[in-house]
Symmetry: C2
Subunit: 250 residues, 2 copies
């Protein structure tokens, strides 16, 4: 049985222009991996209605879950909620529970609600709210699409809120070993291991650090015993490769 | 006249599994912005032949340029060059200039060429090499696709090598101002500015720092005079907004 799949759609001119470094992919990737959901694709698109709608419709039909970040604030460039409604072909309007939440949270922060802020209570029909402490405005889930804020402190809290509600798969287990030789030295043997253990992924990640051309080998899989078996073979390979067992192990 | 467009295809299981933080998007985004090429989309896909081929063919038909990172090393999970050849429907084999380069660079580093390492000299027919000091193995360009290493130190050098060879557009100019009020307070006025200056992008990026809910407003455009004009209006807006001009300006 294979794990559920997911895509992450990052909505953000600021990432594409280079103004801001994307900061949420890694958190989502790690959390999904732990929940046994395979992150299969990430897309970053600009704040343009048609682009968001097209990407949403493609990704939500292809994967079990789609997570989005960005574009749910009060300003003119926050158009994600409307794009989601358009993608699903549903209406969008200010919803009373979202408005009540926004008003009580704003009052506690001595912030007055105006028309712009009220936009954050506009929720597509049929969605359920994602309510977190770190934000007055909620995110929302509609069918298999989970719409979250781009600000990392809020994004992470929304992920933590949503993930336990999803059907989990088998968490991915990984083991990693550092070789103090270039990956070309061990590539043939790794290819053999990958062929011998088709259920495992053997990743090879070269690095250059303090004068050493080295390679980190990562063994990943959903069966912990099998991962240990494959990893034991990687350790044997290192022991058998002259110079591979440098000073620093991890 | 609008600027050339580009997409960035990141090939990497290690990003999607959460093992590695993506580290090249921001560098490419900043450099393209400076060269007047609009980065319009980023995709991250796994090390799977069919996925890479499909993404390449979609992106290269849609954008003026496609940059890729990752998957050009010597190991079994390095399948980018073959996928690029398949996407273009051309042959791929060890090319003599790439082999000579690999051999001389490897000799200088006291590394022996084996079959696995020789894979790095396999280049799709019709491509031109991207040769850099930081890597024995070259990247390559074929038509509008530029294939580069994923290791950031090599990636950046390859970008620096390729960019001057591309037709440049009008570089994007940006100015930024910090408001020490939430974005909801100024959203209506920003919407007005965005409508008044359709050639400019007004980005609004909320932050929470040292107890302050604030907003950074970014004005971007390719006409420097127009950007200054729009920015002057943003400065006026801050002067007219009580509490917006906090202690820290930038």
């Amino acid at each position: 049985m294979s794990n559920p799949t997911a895509a992450f759609l990052v909505i953000g001119d600021e990432i594409l222009s280079g103004r801001t470094r994307e900061a949420n992919v890694n958190y989502l990737a790690v959390e999904l991996s732990g929940a046994g959901i395979d992150l299969s694709e990430v897309r970053i698109v600009p704040d343009e209605h048609d682009r968001i709608v097209a990407a949403l419709n493609e990704l939500r039909s292809r994967y079990d879950h789609v997570f989005t970040s960005g574009g749910i604030g009060p300003t003119h460039d926050d158009i994600t909620a409307d794009a989601v409604a358009a993608a699903f072909g549903v209406e969008i309007s200010v919803r009373e529970d979202a408005r009540a939440l926004l008003e009580s949270r704003s009052a506690a922060r001595h912030i007055q609600i105006n028309d712009a802020r009220l936009r954050m209570a506009r929720i597509p029909d049929g969605a359920s709210l994602i309510v977190v402490d770190s934000s007055a405005a909620p995110g929302f889930s509609i069918q298999n699409v989970h719409v979250m804020a781009g600000v990392p402190s809020i994004f992470t809290e929304m992920v933590d809120r949503v993930l336990p509600t999803l059907a989990a798969g088998a968490p991915t287990v990984s083991r990693e070993l550092r070789f103090d030789v270039g990956e070309g030295r061990i590539a043939d043997q790794l290819r053999g291991l990958a062929a011998e253990f088709p259920e495992l992924a053997f990743g090879s990640y070269p690095f250059f650090s303090e004068g050493v051309y080295g390679t980190n080998i990562v063994v990943r899989g959903t069966d912990p015993d099998l991962v240990e078996l494959g990893f034991a073979r990687v350790r044997q390979l290192r022991d058998a490769t002259p110079g591979a067992g440098g000073a620093a192990y991890r």
